[in-house]
């Protein structure tokens, strides 16, 4: 969701990060797309965030200013926004020009948002259907089995667990899921020696455990709210 300040959409900031050219790599930003100005690490590193054209992220312009002059530099920009200038030069590394009086004439950079990616930090529900135009991939873990008395706990919140077995590394456990419908894939990735994989879910509808005696196999489980159910035929996994 992008806010639009139409009063500033016909006035622009000009930024040129090139020291060798008057125009190469330069950009114009409508003033209405300015999101924030901040200094967070170094006292001379002024950052201006603008709406990114493609993703839910910001394009950031970094301008090197005189140390400890951040407030003054930001005030210069606010004054320029509230002037009548149609095009305001934020920083031009080629000419050294800037409306920021404490611009050093040195480093200017432009970093676009993370194109093509979308990160959601919370949960997400789709009431309609979902159509994926490309691959679907889930978070996963690679783990080794544990001893029979010290089994490795698989993470039920990671959809896929790749498990390798070796001498003394044969057992894993799986805690209950968080909600009915949760899916878990467990892959017996590699089997070294004659060390079978023994999976013991905390709650397993079909029995008490599953055993694989060959690497390169997988099993799909679905949590029903009380127990893990295996999906269809478990193939070469033996239920015990």
């Amino acid at each position: 969701m992008i806010d639009t300040n139409t009063d500033l959409s016909n006035r622009f900031f000009y930024v040129n990060p090139s020291a060798d050219s008057a125009a190469d790599l330069a950009r114009m930003f409508p003033m209405s797309r300015l999101i924030a100005m901040n200094i967070v690490d170094d006292t001379n590193d002024l950052r201006l965030a603008f709406d990114d054209s493609g993703v839910g992220d910001h394009t950031v312009v970094q301008i090197l200013i005189t140390a400890n002059k951040g407030k003054e530099a930001i005030k210069d920009i606010v004054d320029a926004i509230n002037s009548h200038q149609k095009v305001v030069v934020l920083a031009d590394k080629y000419t050294g020009e800037s409306i920021i009086s404490d611009y050093t004439g040195a480093s200017v950079s432009i970093t676009s948002g993370s194109a093509g990616t979308f990160t959601l930090n919370g949960s997400f529900s789709v009431s309609g259907f979902a159509n994926f135009g490309s691959r679907v991939q889930y978070n996963f873990e690679n783990v080794d089995g544990g001893g029979s008395g010290s089994a490795t706990a698989l993470n039920p919140n990671l959809t896929i667990s790749f498990v390798s077995t070796d001498t003394g590394e044969t057992h894993v456990t799986l805690a209950d899921g968080s909600a009915a419908g949760q899916i878990k894939y467990i892959v017996h990735k590699t089997r070294t020696g004659d060390n079978d994989l023994v999976i013991t879910p905390a709650s397993f509808a079909a029995g008490s455990n599953m055993t694989s005696n060959l690497g390169g196999r997988g099993v799909t489980l679905i949590y029903d709210g009380d127990d893990w159910q295996h999906l269809g035929d478990v193939g070469e996994f033996a239920i015990g």
Partner: protein, 108 residues
């Protein structure tokens, strides 16, 4: 006039946000802390929630007065550059503001 809200904790930690991006000002349950939410991504919320926070501590039971002062400056003040809280220069928009509460997240 395009107004901006300015906060400064140190010379290496400050932020300035267009006032029209202010979403809400929340007073805590002891009336000594105000959290200002802005429609801006911080460095950990790309593509997700836009809830950039600026927190200021105020004298107990004076939060209502402070949020009214901020509101009045946004709506009728004559300055475009509104210094809400500046710990470096001890400049505050209301005498009941005591400090910037915590560091600002990066805007990326």
């Amino acid at each position: 006039m395009e107004k901006f809200l300015f906060f400064e904790r140190t010379t290496a930690d400050m932020v300035c946000i267009p006032a029209h991006r202010l979403v809400e000002m929340i007073v805590n349950n002891t009336s000594d802390l105000i959290t200002m939410h802005h429609r801006v991504y911080d460095n950990g919320t790309d593509g997700s929630d836009m809830q950039y926070q600026a927190k200021i501590t105020v004298n107990e039971d004076k939060a209502k007065q402070v949020v009214e002062t901020i509101s009045n400056n946004i709506s009728t003040g004559k300055n475009a550059f509104i210094v809400v809280a500046d710990d470096v220069n001890k400049q505050y928009i209301d005498n009941n503001i005591t400090a910037v509460h915590s560091s600002f997240a990066d805007v990326e």
